[in-house]
């Protein structure tokens, strides 16, 4: 009889807990669309970025035009002289990089001459997206040459004005999907010139035009930077010395103030070319992009929640309180930290924890209510009892 009763009690406990976990999950899904939770999410993401181990990228090198280069080589004139800029590109290509991304506006260049010069080279040219979101038209690259490899260096600031997102593909006003500069640079680096993708009316299953978070590797100094002044001096490195650009993915961009190409990011201000470098690095095979958590991670979170719920049934109230208040959040924090650092993934225990906490509170409330009722009934029974002989009515007091 007592076995059946305890089994029923456990079933009630478990079903209440699971129901509350499901309810809090549904509330969380809805709250994720609110501004408040998005702000909390970005604050948490920035903290996780700050805690990342900062190691220099072995794959990506940035060649930048500094203020000094801008004055001495380009005479302080914008847009930069095409011939001189082509001289820099030639210097980089002589270093045999795996792929080169040029983050400069080349729309006014002589199309035929430039195309002939760089035909067959592993170069991805930046092309500007003009207009507003939803009606973007694509600018020209390399003087409007056809059949060149190009990409859109477009990034999307969050509501707080900080750049954290990019898109793999950007939908133009003509309905076509245009690949980003980072996407095509990774493709060219991995598969060669043939890997470059042009505009297409549809996307493949594994491609997306939805905003994705940039998994920032770190601040500017996690990438090797060569100024063009330095690059020109390293042209005559002897055969034995390791060339700095050999087999690397190189990005050429402007770091001079007149370029006005600096944006606030979770890593403070960053030049546009460094944001692209972070996107390229994160999307290289073996590196971790920030993707949505896979389904199995959600399932795993729930399995752990159910295990915790079951476990708490068999421990005392004191221990369940300690586990919920201290151990639980600490465990969630550690697992989240490790998942982000190692796999660029997020594991959310919040719905499960909140559900279990509510369940424990409800259980406590019911028990408290039951005890109060029992107490009241006992008092009433005591009142109804006839006057008892002395010595039997009250228990003797210790030492009394």
């Amino acid at each position: 009889m007592s076995k059946i009763s305890s089994s029923r009690k456990f079933r009630h406990y478990l079903l209440t807990g699971l129901g509350l976990m499901a309810l809090t999950s549904a509330i969380q899904e809805l709250s994720l669309r609110t501004r408040l939770v998005k702000r909390l999410e970005t604050a948490n993401l920035d903290a996780l970025f700050s805690g990342k181990e900062r190691k220099v990228s072995p794959d990506v090198v940035v060649v930048s035009i500094t203020d000094d280069d801008y004055q001495t080589v380009f005479g302080g004139v914008s847009p930069l002289n095409a011939e001189k800029l082509q001289g820099v590109i030639d210097d980089i290509l002589e270093g045999h990089p795996r792929a080169l991304g040029v983050d400069f506006d080349t729309s006014a260049w002589d199309a035929r001459a430039a195309k002939n010069k760089y035909d067959g080279q592993p170069v991805v040219w930046a092309r500007e997206a003009l207009g507003e979101a939803g009606s973007l038209t694509m600018g020209k690259a390399l003087g409007g040459s056809e059949d060149i490899c190009c990409g859109v260096p477009a990034y999307f600031p969050d509501e707080d004005g900080i750049v954290r997102e990019y898109k793999e593909f950007i939908k133009g006003s003509d309905g076509k999907y245009y690949p980003s500069l980072a996407f095509n640079l990774v493709k060219v680096a991995v598969r060669g010139r043939e890997g470059c993708q042009g505009a297409s009316p549809t996307l493949e299953r594994n491609q997306s035009d939805k905003p994705a978070r940039v998994n920032f590797r770190g601040p500017k100094n996690v990438f090797d930077h060569l100024s063009i002044g330095t690059l020109s001096k390293l042209k005559n490195l002897p055969a034995g010395a390791a060339p700095p650009l050999l087999g690397k993915i190189v990005l050429l961009g402007g770091a001079y103030r007149a370029a006005r190409d600096t944006y606030p990011t979770p890593m403070r201000y960053m030049d546009g070319v460094d944001i692209i470098a972070n996107s390229v690095d994160a999307n290289l095979p073996g590196n971790k992009g920030l993707a949505d958590s896979p389904v199995w991670l959600y399932v795993w979170g729930y399995v752990e929640g159910v295990a915790l719920l079951v476990g708490l049934y068999f421990v005392s109230r004191t221990w369940s309180l300690i586990i919920l208040v201290v151990t639980g959040p600490a465990y969630a924090l550690v697992v989240n930290w490790l998942a982000f650092q190692w796999a660029g993934a997020f594991v959310s225990f919040v719905p499960c924890f909140v559900g279990i906490v509510i369940q424990q509170i409800v259980e406590h409330a019911f028990e408290y209510h039951r005890l109060r009722q029992e107490n009241r009934e006992l008092h009433e029974q005591l009142k109804r009892l006839p006057a008892t002989p002395a010595g039997l009515s009250t228990p003797s007091q210790p030492g009394g």
């Binding site: 920035d46 903290a47 700050s50 900062r54 000094d68 060569l226 103030r257 007149a258």
Partner: protein, 263 residues
């Protein structure tokens, strides 16, 4: 024919396994820069040669002449000059520092719980909010930068000076040094070979972020008070509502006027 093994096979495999991480580390030691011009300089008592690799925190000893080092820090090549033996310079730190899990956690929590300062976007197309034109005191190779620098965080910065017009040596190229900025005490950078004159001062943080550049007039201790006062008086006489670009041009002109009047 069976060979006699002087090391057991299992031991050899174990030794190779133990050595492999070392080999990997050695393979990973890409240089942080190269010597691209050198006179008489050494490292650990060995003469430095052209295109020799250098690493962050390397101590280079100068006997005579200059050394030019190209680093992967995104800056122009760094020039160091040794006029009086012995001179020692260290390759400046620009790589991310190795940090422990505790310090990374600390950084993450600080980010989470601290208030993020508003990150302003300057709508001006040129100029620098950190550096501005000034007359600086050059005393025994020590250059006090405090008058040329606005509000910047404490820390180590790369300082470089490009001569625009010098009284002493017009042939001098770009000079590089570093300053551990910690005002009011730590505001000086060491430039043993520097001559008074007009220079373009450029600075960058240890992470390689440029603080911009500005023209500065370096004055010997004897001339400094007079030139500083003269510059200050000229600046005070300027109208207050000047366009920033015009103000920039006028300050440069004043500096050049004061600098050239001493020749």
């Amino acid at each position: 024919m069976r060979q006699n093994r002087w090391i057991p096979q299992s031991c050899a495999v174990l030794c190779l396994a133990c050595l492999s991480p070392g080999a990997l580390l050695a393979a990973d030691s890409a240089p942080d820069g190269w010597v691209i011009a050198v006179d008489n300089w050494t490292r650990r008592n060995t003469a430095l040669k052209l295109y020799q690799e250098v690493f962050v925190n390397d101590k280079l000893q100068g006997i005579a002449g200059t050394i030019e080092v190209a680093l992967k820090d995104g800056q122009s090549p760094h020039v160091y000059r040794c006029d009086k033996y012995p001179c020692t310079i260290a390759i400046p730190e620009f790589r991310p520092a190795d940090d422990s899990l505790i310090s990374r956690l600390g950084r993450a929590f600080r980010e989470l719980y601290s208030h993020r300062d508003t990150m302003p976007v300057s709508a001006i197309s040129r100029g620098s909010q950190y550096l501005h034109q000034a007359v600086l005191a050059l005393n025994g190779g020590q250059l006090d930068l405090k008058d040329a620098i606005g509000t910047i965080d404490m820390g180590t910065y790369t300082v470089s000076l490009r001569p625009i017009e010098t009284a002493g040596s017009t042939a001098l190229g770009r000079l590089s040094g570093s300053v551990n900025w910690d005002p009011p005490g730590g505001t000086s950078a060491s430039f043993p070979a520097l001559a008074p004159g007009i220079y373009e001062l450029s600075m960058a943080s240890s992470e390689g972020d440029s603080l911009g550049s500005a023209a500065v007039l370096l004055a010997a201790p004897a001339d400094y008070p007079v030139k500083r006062e003269s510059f200050g008086a000229s600046v005070r006489a300027l109208p207050r509502d000047l366009d920033p670009a015009a103000l920039d041009a006028l300050l440069n002109a004043i500096l050049f006027d004061i600098g050239s009047s001493a020749k």
